[in-house]
């Protein structure tokens, strides 16, 4: 039950993020939305390792090993998520830094203006 709820929440976060990526015009909000995709993926991976009614996967000295392996949740995904959270934060920081630089040039946060088509081939006459 709980695992299914986690799955739904993570899918909801991913969908919110994808919606923001297409339909929100403000670049900062778009970046916030995109960070929700990352959070959704992280939540999903943590949900994989979760075992309902289990214990935290830390082996204390007085624990029986076979009881521990039967009851502890699966720790591998947690290690992955740690890395992924930090990567997500650094990506976000780089994006925001680029936004600050570009704001100085354009004076607006609208994606339509800031990140418009730049491949227009200039007029040329012989």
């Amino acid at each position: 039950m709980s695992q299914l709820a986690v799955l739904f929440t993570s899918v909801a976060l991913v969908v919110i993020g994808l919606y923001a990526a297409i339909f929100v015009d403000n670049i900062i909000k778009k970046i916030i939305g995109i960070s929700f995709i990352e959070e959704g993926a992280n939540l999903f991976i943590v949900g994989i390792g979760y075992k309902s009614g289990g214990i935290v996967p830390i082996l204390a000295p007085n624990m029986d090993v076979s009881w521990f392996t039967a009851n502890a949740s699966y720790p591998l995904p947690y290690g992955l998520v740690l890395t992924s959270i930090v990567i997500g934060a650094s990506t976000l920081a780089v994006m925001l830094a680029l936004v600050m630089v570009l704001y100085r040039r354009y004076g607006t946060l609208s994606t339509k203006v800031m990140l418009a088509d730049t491949s227009k081939q200039e007029e040329y006459d012989e």
């Binding site: 994808l18 994606t111 990140l115 418009a116 088509d117 491949s119 006459d125």
Partner: protein, 111 residues
């Protein structure tokens, strides 16, 4: 003669879109090549459907050929959709993601 006139008109509209100025030899050959290449290669890749069903291939080929040839200055239309703005790129990326996931979920086992 009629086909040549048509192609010449294509080149003129093409030039108008990107760069005003007299039409030169290199421009004509370049844009004719790109038009013909696009049509032929799309038709050729549609031929790959014959591994699924031959009837479908014939139908798709006919429709595709008619649609492509009647819309003949294709590259300008094509290029407007392939520009550099973030909106278009994001839109196509997410549409592709949707198509891939939906197709995999419902049709992945039937190929």
């Amino acid at each position: 003669m009629k086909l040549y006139d048509q192609i010449f008109n294509v080149v003129k509209t093409f030039k108008k879109l990107f760069s005003p100025g007299p039409v030169t030899n290199a421009d004509v050959s370049g844009s004719i090549t790109s038009e013909i290449f696009l049509i032929v290669s799309l038709l050729m890749s549609a031929l790959l459907l014959r591994h699924l069903s031959i009837l479908l291939t014939g139908l798709v080929l006919l429709i595709l050929a008619v649609v492509l040839i009647t819309n003949i200055p294709l590259i300008p239309k094509f290029k407007i959709e392939q520009e550099d703005s973030l909106e278009k790129m994001l839109f196509y990326a997410i549409v592709t993601l949707g198509i891939i996931v939906a197709f995999m979920y419902w049709g992945g086992n039937f190929v």
